[in-house]
């Protein structure tokens, strides 16, 4: 309503269905829905620009949205350990955000490169409190 300023038939542009998938992509976390919704809204809003600049049909954004959803949802089947290892790190909130972002990356090849280096960094803070705590 706020975008179009009037109620008409073109308002039903599949927002409801995309909204369901936004909830899936946000892993059912309400706060994560906000950035995911902004990302998808941005893609949808790019349609008119694509039409003017590149002479592409406005359905290009739908194709992109569909491909995006399909890849990310199919990525649920990648081994959970790849992302799950970092859950044991002390800062819970940043890890939750990082795991959402890293699971958003559709390319499986890029994921191990991004995840493996911090593994050693994470392991040390986890190990050191266990050593310190008995002493204290």
């Amino acid at each position: 309503m706020a975008v179009h300023g009037a109620a008409n038939a073109s308002l039903i542009a599949g927002y409801g269905y995309a909204g369901i998938l936004v909830a899936f992509l946000a892993r059912q976390q309400p706060l994560a829905c906000v950035p995911v919704a902004v990302l998808l809204g941005g893609i949808a809003a790019a349609g008119s620009l694509l039409q003017r600049r590149l002479d592409l049909p406005d359905a290009t954004t739908l194709v992109l949205q569909g491909t995006l959803f399909l890849c990310i949802l199919a990525a649920d089947s990648f081994p959970a350990r790849r992302f799950g290892l970092r859950r044991k790190a002390p800062a819970e909130s940043t890890v939750a955000a990082a795991s959402t972002i890293s699971s958003l990356a559709p390319e499986p090849a890029a994921a191990p490169v991004a995840v493996t280096p911090p593994r050693h960094d994470v392991a040390r803070p986890v190990a050191s409190p266990t050593l310190v705590q008995p002493a204290a």
Binding site: G14, Y17, A18, I20, L21, F24, P57, D58, A59, T60, T61, L62, V63, L64, Q65, G66, T67, F69, L70, L73, A74, D76, S77, A80
Partner: protein
Amino acid sequence: MSDAWITVLVAIFGGAMRVSTPFLFVSLGECITEKSGRVNLGLEGTLVFGAMVGYAVSYHSGSPWWGVLAAGGAGVLFGALHGWICSLPRVNDIAIGIALMILGLGLAFFFGKAYVQPTAPRLPTLDLGGFAADPALRAALQINVLLPIGALIALLLFLGMRHARWGLVLRTVGDSSDAARALGFNVNRVRVLATAVGGFLAGVGGAYLSLYYPGSWNEALSSGQGVMAVALVIFARWNPIGCFIAALVFGGAGSIGPALQAVGVQSGYHLFNAAPYVLTLAIMLWTSSSKRALAGAPGELSLTR
């Protein structure tokens, strides 16, 4: 008075004959898929993409039947993609279905821009109303060939699911994947096949939309038939013959508004267009119970589990 009633009834019957075929094909496809234990919500996208492919192939080849086949082939691709992705572990079939719906709509609109203008050859009709003197009845009895084909498929599915080996395998996989695995069936292969066949039928339903009624390709072609068919399958209790009846009832209820308009009832036209949905909701409420599960529901279905 009685004359007006007859006119309304004939118009409703004619509407049911015209409108119900896509509902029939998509709900039969969804019925096969759901009997195997998966839900494919993406049949709306398959329907619209099939409509586009069918129209394009009919235009280029000059034969609407090539268009119907090509639409079915496109549906097989979409169904097999859904089946394959859902065979991966931890993937949600409902979410993948919605994603495929958006992708199918997008691809259909993307490639279909060039086919909004040209006119493709349309599917032939069977003229069953030659005996009738009333022109309205004669028009109502002009039935597309795909409707009897759909009725035949419904009958074959009904018998096959009861008595044929493939029907029993399908139902076993849908009711208990553990039991099916213990019997040595490849559960994922059966489900991929069932989803692909379901996609074929949905694609054919789309070809009916663009090649017979309304009979042209544009972006407002489908009015949610693909999504509604999922509800019709539940409404029909996963029974192919029930799908046929449900599609006819739904199509008939949808033409109450135009039928009343034909005899001069102008008020509430858009309200009467909501009649099929109200009817579906009412029958669902009437036949549901809080004490027992839905009869005939496949045990593995994520919708009813």
